[in-house]
Amino acid sequence: MIAVAGRRRVVWAPTLAAPDWTLTLLALALSVVGLLLVWSATRMGGDYGLLIRQAVSVGLGLVLMWFVSRCDLRVLRAYVPLAYVLALVSLAGVLTPLGVRVNGAHSWIVLAPGVQFQPSEFAKVALALAFAVPLGELRDGQSRPGFGGVLLALVLAAVPIGLIALQPDLGTMLVFAAMVSGALLVSGAPKRWLLVLVAGAAGAGFAAWKLGLVRPYQLERLLVLANPGADPGGVGYNAAQARIAIGSGGLTGKGLFNGEQTAGHFVPEQHTDFIFTVAGEEFGFAGAAAIVLAIGVLLWRGLSIARHSASPYGAVLAGGVVSWLAFQTFVNVGMTVGLMPIVGVPLPFVSYGGSATVAGLLAIGLLQAVHRTKAMQRL
């Protein structure tokens, strides 16, 4: 009904195919699970403020997802320069007095009291759209992007990465790097570019360490990963408490709202970056693995969309989006189960956070747009 009604109004998208319902339903399910977990993690104290905010974010994200999914790729493509510039401006904006410092990083812009957003989350959307342009819009006769295209894509990525480095926000920087790598892979660019990228990243990391740009706590987080028992009261506290919460969940968990570790707030940041510990404790292995599997299936669908995309642009866009979500999922869940160092990235769809939630659902919208734009090849 809605689709029919929409089709009548959205005149600029006449050739859309049916959406990938699995994708949408998985995103929706993960968002609902996320709401339950946020509720569980924040309900002690009787304050529903965070839950309501997250519900509003999910609602807004779903609306935007629906809207974007109904856009023809060519229409979206037209807005790429604008989105990219807006992303850069807002990323620069957090470094101005408009920005707010949270947990040691300038990553927020306050629009009005209580209304704030994280430009880096939307920059992920903009970046996915932007570097798909040089990598996906091939000149005649090209089957894969040439030197110029790859270089342009890297430059397009380097500018926002540089701005985020100034915040500084290591997690988001790594997400961007993963997106670029994924997009390059999907675009069919020569593999040596990936090697260049890896070498560059290693060189940059080494330089950062040598120049003293790596914070001591970041180094300690790495060391804690190697030796989980070390310093459980200090740097290792997060990691240890997260593993305790998840491990004590057992096979089937303690039941929603019954997690004692969750109720006692032993895991810091448990409604944001460590939301997965709530799932692990209250839903057990069954629930936690189901969440991981759900995201895995979602990503698999995303890759299918990339493969069957009607245009290289759509394929590269989908590849970037999938890399983004995959990297965040692996790093986020990995750090809660002690496989990855603690890096501040949210779990897509599930973690509390308005910007991240909306950006995640927008990403699904982008995948749907790629999926539905069948007629691209003919134009």
Partner: protein, 662 residues
């Protein structure tokens, strides 16, 4: 390529979750419990110690204590500083002092600090006055986390009476005396409270509560009245003789139960309640003279020597000469006061306390190579602990051939060193010369049990040491026909509801190596001592018709000190054995015997009281422990004592009497 990455990623994460949540679940459940649950012990009310009539010797009393909840304090915006400052004003304590009591001990926080759990209320002031307690409870908004509660503390209705026997409690643990030996019975079982806490340590709810089980009451065979009588008698004797320390033991001859154990100097165990400083601790007379004091027994020892003579074939009724001196080897051993008492039987030797008869006996036995004296002494229970239910009991000493040789071997090197060097550090020149002479002798040769050693041994000198308790049980055995008991203070353990948990019976430790006939002979002789023998003066006018007290005086020389004064006695009815010793108390007849008479008269007085007012004594032994302790309702916590748990024993008061008499 990317598909592979996705599959690998999902597989890795799910595999890791399987490991954490399914394989390692138990480990993490335990860790979660450790993080989330705080267990606070709820201390039980400690049982009372009562005397044989049910009078409490140790009981509990409640007193108001102001406590602070460290967790609640930490949640104050200023960490509780304002609260503690206000509290300081009310309690008239400086803020710093309270803050130090409340802070938690840690690797970087040294004493003073709180060593217990942060979830336990921390006492900051004890025994506060009612207005202060009221002020705090009425102004709760000013004192969040501060409470006044009633806590039980140990009280001693009889003050210093039987202090050493009772022991004391430190940090909820019984130390020394009965508190230590019967700690398991008295302590009860602590309850526990499991509380769920959040990440800030705030208690969210109580998960489980096990009420504590109060401790059982220890009923002792001590009679607080006789105990008081004995202590007063010893105290009077100390005062009149100028002696430093003394002890009295009153034992039921037939059973081995202890009725009174007096040891002076003593102290009021209430000092432990408020904590003892290191300086106070050093000055406390912690040694129980009755159980841990050792002295040469002097002539009280002769009951053993007479039995040895009988065992060696000497006729007890035969005549023996009691000259003023007897030569052993090349040395003359003198009779007491060098008196020549003429011919007498063994009866007379005991009554008149002739020494020379025993010198000759010992010399003859020694020449025969007989160890009858030493063996008999061991058979009387000397030289080994009695096994009484009190800690730190001394063994005494029964020297013999082997022991002397071993001692000589062990000390030869030192003797030779001293033989050359002498004792230049000693101020007393005469004594230094004497000791140097002994050292020379012991360096050249020694370790040989000579006739002189045997002679000294026979009259309770020459390295013989006994505790008052050992002597009491030996005399009790003489009185009861030869049964040596392992004495007991504990009579029974009774639950708070009055039911008996167990009855304590003094076990039989052995039989005296003496025939019934010999024992009858000794009893007969000793019955004459207070009437016409050495204790005649002390017992002049004593109502022997009421209580036929028999006894033996003892005057033991102690090198460098005044004589040790002994009197060991018993009666057929009431069948008690009473032993009194006064260290440096002079002659037995002058110091200890009058004190023993005091005790016997006190016992007679009580017996008469019982006869004339039967209602006051009829319930004796049947009354359960007093139920007057209202504190059983209250949660009881002992204030952790700040005193260190260093060695319980004070410096040994063992005197120099191990030196040989020459």
């Amino acid at each position: 390529m990317l598909r592979l990455v996705i599959v690998a990623m999902v597989a890795t994460l799910v595999g890791r979750l399987w490991f954490l949540q399914v394989i390692s679940e138990a480990e993490y459940v335990q860790a979660a419990t450790d993080v989330r649950i705080r267990t606070v012990p709820v201390p039980p009310v400690r049982g009372q110690i009562v005397d044989v009539t049910g009078r409490p010797l140790v009981t509990n009393r409640t007193r108001p204590v102001v406590t602070v909840d460290a967790v609640a304090l930490a949640h104050q915006p200023d960490g509780g500083r304002a609260v503690l400052e206000r509290l300081g004003e009310v309690l008239r304590q400086p803020y710093r002092q309270i803050a130090e009591k409340v802070r938690l001990c840690g690797p970087e926080v040294a004493q003073p600090c709180w060593q217990g759990s942060p979830y336990e209320p921390i006492p900051v002031a004890e025994d506060v006055s009612a207005p202060v307690a009221l002020q705090i409870s009425e102004r709760q908004q000013d004192f969040p986390g501060v409470r006044t509660e009633l806590r039980p503390v140990r009280v001693y209705p009889f003050g210093a009476a039987a202090a050493h026997t009772l022991g004391y409690v430190q940090g909820a643990k019984g130390r020394d005396g009965l508190e230590g030996v019967y700690d398991r019975e008295l302590a009860g079982r602590p309850g526990r409270r499991d509380m769920a806490v959040d990440n800030t340590g705030q208690v969210t709810r109580t998960l489980r509560q096990d009420p504590p089980v109060p401790g059982n009451t220890l009923v002792t065979s001590l009679d607080s009245r006789i105990q008081t009588i004995a202590e007063q008698a010893v105290a009077r004797a100390l005062a009149s003789s100028g002696a430093k320390s003394g002890a009295a033991v009153v034992m039921e001859s037939q059973t081995g139960r202890l009725v009174a154990l007096a040891g002076l100097p003593a102290y009021d165990p209430a000092v432990w309640t408020d904590g003892v400083t290191a300086r106070e601790y050093k000055r406390l007379p912690l040694l129980s003279q009755a159980v841990q004091g050792e002295w040469a027994p002097g002539s009280t020892w002769k009951v053993s020597s007479v039995a040895a003579a009988a065992n060696a074939g000497y006729g007890l009724g035969a005549s023996y000469d009691c000259p003023s001196g007897y030569t052993v080897g090349n040395r003359v051993f003198r009779n007491f006061a060098s008196a020549d008492l003429g011919l007498m039987t063994m009866h007379g030797a005991l009554v008149q306390s002739c020494d020379t008869i025993f010198y000759r006996l010992a010399d003859q036995l020694w020449q025969r190579g007989s160890e009858a004296m030493e063996k008999t002494a061991r058979g009387f229970g000397f030289g080994e602990p009695t096994g009484v239910d009190l800690p730190g009991e001394a063994a005494g000493a029964v020297p013999d051939r082997a022991a002397k040789k071993a001692l000589w071997r062990a000390t030869r090197e030192e003797s030779c060193r001293r033989a050359v060097k002498g004792y230049p550090e000693m101020a007393d020149r005469g004594r230094a010369a004497y000791l140097t002479a002994i050292a020379k002798e012991n360096c050249r040769g020694g370790g040989v049990w000579r006739g002189g050693d045997a002679a000294n041994f026979s009259i309770g000198q020459g390295g013989v040491l006994v505790t008052p308790l050992q002597l009491a049980r030996a005399y009790a055995a003489v009185a009861n026909g030869g049964t040596l008991h392992s004495p007991r203070v504990g009579l029974k353990v009774v639950k708070p509801d009055g039911s008996t948990v167990k009855t304590i019976t003094p076990p039989v430790a052995g039989r005296l190596p003496a025939s019934a006939e010999t024992l009858r002979f000794i009893r007969n002789a000793l019955s004459q001592v207070p009437k016409e023998g050495t204790a005649e003066g002390a017992f002049k006018g004593f109502p022997f018709g009421k209580v036929a007290v028999a006894g033996k005086t003892g005057t033991a020389e102690s090198f460098g000190h005044r004589d040790t004064s002994w009197f060991a006695s018993f009666a057929p009815d009431p069948a008690y054995t009473v032993v009194v010793v006064l260290s440096e108390g002079g002659r037995g007849a002058e110091g200890a015997a009058p004190a023993a008479r005091d005790i016997w008269e006190g016992i007679i007085g009580l017996a008469e009281l019982r006869t004339f007012r039967p209602e006051s004594g009829s319930s004796r032994d049947q009354r359960g422990p007093s139920e007057r302790d209202q504190s059983t309702q209250e949660r009881r916590t002992f204030r952790p004592e700040s005193g260190s748990s260093r060695d319980q024993r004070g410096p040994s008061e063992r005197d120099q009497s191990t030196q040989e008499r020459r």
